[in-house]
C-alpha cells in the first residue's frame, strides 16, 4: 500500500509534530476504511493514487465563496441569471467553474417572494460539492435529513429564518444525479453594493436554503 496517504489520513491537518499519531493502529474506523478503499482502488487499477489526490484537492479548493460569486453575478446580471436557471453547469463555466463530465448535473432553484427552496439529501448526503466545497456536518446528520422533509419550517426557524405562511416552501430532495443550489433573494437595501460586496453577503446556509443572506449593516451616521 502506498505510503503517500490521501484524504483518509488527516494527520497533516494537525501539523506533523506528532509522528506517532498517524500510525495505522491508532487511526479511527473511518480513516482505516478509507485507506482500505484507496488501496483496493489503486491495486485493482481503477484509479491511481495521484487521481485520488487530485480529486481531494479539487474538493478542498472549493468553498461557499465560489457559490457566492455565482449568486452575486446572478443578482447583478439578469441575463446571466436566466442562463443559470436554464443550464446551470454551462452558466457557472462562464465564471471559470468547469465541471468534469462525470460530475453530477446542477440545477439552480430561485427563491422569490412566493417560493422558498430548501435542499436536502434524505438518502445520503448529496450536495453541490464542486461549487460549495464539502457539506457541513449538520447537512449529513440523520436529524437534518429526516426533519428537513417533514418539518422544513421548523428547521429554518432553528437557523433563524421564520418563513411567512403565504410563502410556498419547496423542499428539494436530491435523490439521484442532480445537485441543487438555491439562488437566494437579494436583500433589500443593497442597490449600491458592488458584485464583490454582494458576494460577501451570501452564506453557505443561504445556498442550501436553511437561512437567508446577510443583510448589510446600515451605513454609519456622520
Amino acid at each position: 500500500m502506498s505510503n503517500q496517504h490521501g484524504h483518509g489520513d488527516h494527520s497533516n491537518e494537525q501539523g506533523s509534530s506528532h509522528p506517532g499519531a498517524s500510525q495505522d493502529a491508532e487511526l479511527g474506523h473511518y480513516a482505516r476504511r478509507v485507506q482500505a478503499l484507496e488501496a483496493l482502488l489503486t491495486e485493482k487499477g481503477i484509479c491511481t493514487q495521484g487521481e485520488i489526490q487530485r480529486a481531494v484537492e479539487e474538493t478542498e479548493a472549493r468553498s461557499p465563496a465560489d457559490g457566492a460569486r455565482v449568486v452575486a453575478r446572478a443578482w447583478v446580471d439578469s441575463e446571466f441569471k436566466a442562463r443559470l436557471l436554464a443550464n446551470a453547469k454551462a452558466a457557472v463555466a462562464e465564471l471559470g467553474y468547469e465541471a468534469a463530465a462525470d460530475l453530477p448535473d446542477l440545477v439552480v432553484a430561485e427563491n422569490t417572494d412566493k417560493q422558498h427552496h430548501l435542499v436536502v439529501c434524505t438518502l445520503c448526503s448529496c450536495y453541490p460539492t464542486w461549487l460549495l466545497g464539502r457539506p457541513p456536518d449538520w447537512y449529513k446528520s440523520l436529524t437534518y435529513r429526516s426533519r428537513a422533509v417533514v418539518d422544513p419550517r421548523g428547521v429554518t426557524r432553528e437557523f433563524g429564518l421564520e418563513l411567512e405562511p403565504n410563502v410556498e416552501v419547496r423542499v428539494l430532495d436530491s435523490t439521484a444525479d442532480i445537485r441543487y443550489l438555491v439562488l437566494p433573494q437579494r436583500p433589500d437595501g443593497t442597490e449600491g453594493l458592488s458584485e464583490e460586496e454582494l458576494a460577501r453577503l451570501v452564506t453557505r446556509d443561504s445556498m442550501v436554503g436553511v437561512s437567508n443572506p446577510h443583510v448589510p449593516e446600515p451605513a454609519p451616521a456622520d
Binding site: D105, V107, T122, L123, V149, V150, D151, P152, R153, P165, N166, E168, V169, R170, V171, L172, D173, S174, T175, A176, D177, I178
Partner: protein, 99 residues
C-alpha cells in the same frame, strides 16, 4: 446524461404515481413518496440506472429522470405547514405510472 431507448414517457404537468417496487439493494426512490401521487415538475433527461450501476452493472438502459412535486399534506400525516408547501424528489421513470 446518457443515451436511452426512446424518449421520456412523461411531460411537465403530468400526474404520476410512484410505484412501490420490490427492488432490493441500492434504490434511489425514498420510501416516503412510494405510493404517492405527484406532478412532473421537470424532465432531466436519461441517466444510468443506479440499481444496476451500484453493483458494477452498465446502468443501461438509461432511464429518464424527473423532478416530481408532491403536496406535503398528502405525504405526511399531520404536516403542520400551509397547504401550498411542497416536497420534490428526483424519480426514475421505471418507478412511475400515470395517475
Amino acid at each position: 446524461m446518457a443515451s436511452s431507448v426512446g424518449g421520456p414517457k412523461f411531460r411537465r404537468g403530468d400526474r404520476v404515481r410512484v410505484l412501490s417496487l420490490d427492488v432490493k439493494g441500492h434504490v434511489r426512490t425514498p420510501w416516503y413518496i412510494q405510493g404517492k401521487t405527484g406532478v412532473i415538475e421537470r424532465s432531466h433527461g436519461p441517466y444510468l440506472n443506479p440499481e444496476s450501476l451500484a453493483y458494477g452493472g452498465s446502468g443501461l438502459p438509461a432511464q429518464p429522470l424527473y423532478l416530481v412535486r408532491f403536496n406535503q399534506l398528502e405525504v405526511w400525516e399531520g404536516y403542520t405547514g400551509p397547504g401550498d408547501d411542497r416536497v420534490l424528489a428526483d424519480v426514475f421513470e421505471h418507478w412511475l405510472e400515470p395517475a
